[in-house]
């Protein structure tokens, strides 16, 4: 089983660049993304417009940042259902601290991230110390986080956030939106961490075989703790970016984040059984989801179909994933039990 993403062709004789590209696990995802993009480019003039390209990128930034955490969690063999509520809690309380308690914008952002950190510690503790199943733990924790959020904000929307707070979501850094720059930087950083650090190697090993990892002397609990901490932290950052993008913090804003995030990770080639995945793949998966969502708007398909399409894409991605791994062949589909 492939443990790291690169380095597969090192021992083989040199091949042409094209062959090497096709040998990479992410090439399929890349081809899908490229063909979708090219098709949209020809079909729709609105799609080609510069503002639309920028809006695809900045829409993608929020859930792509969350997908960093989700990818790590799935690679390690877990599942995180609490990212949406953490994002909402961090965005809401960060905004609340600024508007109602008179904190400075920077302190508000820090507060939001600190909340993410605290949620991550809670998730990590109940999963590693109390041995909760990740799905159940994060489901219960979601409820707690939304409960805290609702009881502190009474369900109100926090509006008129200062520009320093919304900079991450709607400001610019050079020619690109700040959030997009943050996204690329984080992806580069986490790809580096996953492929070169000991922690990264442990994440893959735990996902491949937890027992073997434990026997090999890896501190499984500590690694899992780090994974869920990262996941919650990027979720809170995503929440702050989201609040900045719509320049208001709404209680429901985390609700729609879950599915595109999971979709980005799975479409990007992360194995649901753990052990395989890459940041590069997830980034392209997120881009595919963003182009898809944009296509629904630009081509004036019924907007209510958006959620349906995302769900179908997730199912398709999982099916492709299963077929690729040989768990599923077409004959299996036909065979009666």
């Amino acid at each position: 089983m492939a443990v790291t993403t690169g380095g597969r062709s090192t021992s083989k004789p040199p091949r042409s660049a094209w062959r090497r590209f096709l040998g990479m696990r992410e090439s399929g995802v890349f081809l899908v993304l490229a063909s979708m993009y090219v098709a949209m480019w020809f079909v729709s003039p609105v799609f080609r417009a510069r503002f639309n390209q920028v809006s695809i990128l900045s829409q993608m930034a929020v859930f792509a940042v969350l997908a960093i955490g989700q990818t790590m969690v799935i690679v390690s063999g877990g599942f995180d259902l609490s990212q949406g509520p953490i994002a909402a809690l961090a965005g809401m309380l960060g905004g609340l601290a600024i508007k109602n308690w008179g904190w400075s914008p920077l302190a508000g952002i820090g507060f939001g991230l600190a909340i993410g950190l605290a949620c991550g510690v809670f998730n990590g503790l109940i999963i590693t110390r109390l041995q909760f199943e990740p799905v159940v733990a994060t489901l219960a924790a979601s409820s707690i986080y939304s409960g805290i959020m609702y009881s502190m904000t009474k369900g109100n929307t926090v509006v008129e956030l200062p520009p320093q707070f919304t900079w991450l979501g709607s400001g610019d850094l050079g020619p690109l939106p700040a959030g997009v720059v943050v996204m690329f930087a984080l992806y580069a950083l986490m790809q580096f961490v996953l492929t070169t650090s000991e922690f990264g190697r442990h994440v893959f090993l735990i996902g491949s075989n937890k027992e073997a990892a434990r026997l090999a002397g890896i501190n499984v609990e500590r690694t899992q703790f780090g994974i869920f901490l990262t996941s919650a932290l990027v979720a809170s950052l995503g929440g702050i970016m989201l609040a900045g993008r719509i320049s208001a913090a709404q209680p429901q804003m985390g609700a729609g984040l879950m599915l595109p995030t999971v979709a980005a990770a799975i479409v990007g080639g992360t194995w649901l059984t753990g052990g395989v995945g890459s940041m590069f793949g997830t980034l392209m998966g997120a881009a595919i989801m963003a182009v898809l969502k944009n296509a629904i708007v630009v081509l004036r398909v019924n907007i209510y179909l958006q959620e349906f399409v995302v769900g179908v894409v997730v199912v398709l991605a999982v099916v492709i994933d299963q077929v690729r791994r040989g768990n599923l062949s077409l004959s299996l589909l036909r065979r009666r039990a």
């Binding site: 599942f79 109940i126 110390r129 109390l130 041995q131 909760f132 199943e133 799905v135 159940v136 733990a137 489901l139 219960a140 924790a141 979601s142 409820s143 707690i144 986080y145 939304s146 409960g147 805290i148 609702y150 009881s151 009474k154 369900g155 879950m258 599915l259 999971v262 799975i266 649901l272 019924n302 209510y304 179909l305 958006q306 959620e307 349906f308 399409v309 995302v310 769900g311 179908v312 997730v314 199912v315 999982v318 099916v319 299963q322 768990n327 599923l328 299996l332 589909l333 039990a337």
Partner: protein, 340 residues
């Protein structure tokens, strides 16, 4: 002579009956339920009214009915995140059928329940044929169901549903709401199915060990199909009761139901790892959740805390489950003594 002989055996059998009552797996749940009930009875006069009791019973029906399906799923070692989505789809489209297509109420109700069953079958097909994790399948399908619902209704609220349609959700048979009767009947039927039929035995076997079940000749795929289909049917029924209760179909009507349903099932003694669970336990778990929810209202605790409290209770319930399964013991928390 004969009297003296029978006497000790009678007391012995009485004793063993008492013992079996306390050894009964659900007795802990029953104790918690009674405790919660007695405390609330003592603390709050508003709680004691007959009206409030009927409210509690009515409110617990939807969660309980969905939790029955979840119990079967959990016993088999599976997971289902799509119940709320199915309930919304069934409630919305059946309301739509009555209001927009002028279907007779009984047909619309039947349509909603069948639609729920169909969704459950779709879940089952994906899970067994494509061999995908149930949690992921049902997460994806729940967005498919919600997507279909939004696509069809454009997010409209359908109000003023006819009395025939609302019968399941808001009518009463004498003093007892219809939904409560449905809940108890369904619990009885499903319990009978679990403990008296071959299918029920297979559900338990599957939860104990899928491989062993397969080797023992259980038709795993067919059993899975039945399990998730039941999950879909009860969710469809819950959706109809939900919209019948408020006489309207609203797009977000089932939004907060997932966690209380999971909590009710786990509190009721169903093991998350599969193989153990009962309808009586789930019924009591749902009653505990309903009393809790009622307590927040009656005691005028901050209503916004409700969801947080449900979350905390779920964490506690899972903890209880882990201790019960000996996955977690107190020794594990003592320093230096975790492993030899």
């Amino acid at each position: 002579m004969s009297e003296q002989k029978t006497d000790p055996s009678v007391t012995a059998s009485l004793l063993s009956k008492l013992k079996s009552l306390f050894g009964f797996r659900e007795s802990a749940v029953l104790a918690v339920l009674l405790l919660a009930y007695v405390i609330m009875w003592g603390v709050s006069p508003a709680f004691r009214t007959l009206n409030n009791h009927i409210t509690i019973l009515k409110q617990m029906t939807v969660v309980a009915i969905m939790a029955f399906g979840l119990t079967v799923v959990y016993i088999s070692g599976g997971f289902d995140l799509s119940q709320a989505g199915i309930a919304t789809l069934a409630g919305m489209l059946s309301g739509w059928a009555v209001a927009m297509w002028h279907w007779p109420s009984w047909l619309a109700v039947l349509f909603g329940i069948l639609l729920g069953g169909l969704c459950g079958m779709f879940n089952a097909l994906l899970i067994m044929r494509l061999r995908i994790e149930p949690a992921v399948v049902t997460l994806a399908t729940s967005s498919i169901y919600m997507g279909i619902m939004y696509f069809w209704t454009k997010g409209l609220t359908i109000s003023n549903l006819p009395a025939g349609y609302n019968w399941l959700g808001s009518a009463s048979l004498g003093p007892v709401p219809v939904a409560v009767v449905v809940m108890f009947v369904l619990a009885g039927m499903l319990q009978w199915m679990l403990s008296r039929t071959v299918f029920g035995r297979h559900v338990f076997l599957l939860g104990n060990s899928k491989e062993a079940a397969r080797l023992a000749g259980v038709r795993v795929e067919r059993t899975l199909f039945g399990i998730y289909t039941i999950g879909g049917f009860v969710s469809g029924l819950a959706g109809i009761i939900l919209s019948g209760r408020i006489s309207a179909s609203v797009t977000n009507m089932a939004a907060g139901l997932l966690t209380p349903t999971v909590a009710a099932t786990i509190i009721g003694g169903t093991w998350l790892s599969g193989g153990v669970g009962s309808m009586a336990g789930t019924l009591m778990g749902s009653a505990i959740m309903a009393i809790l929810r009622n307590a927040i209202v009656v005691l005028q605790v901050d209503i916004y805390l409700q969801e947080g409290v449900v979350g905390v209770i779920t964490v506690l319930a899972v903890l209880m489950d882990l201790f019960r399964r000996k996955r977690l013991t107190l020794q594990m928390f003592l320093p230096k003594r975790r492993q030899a």
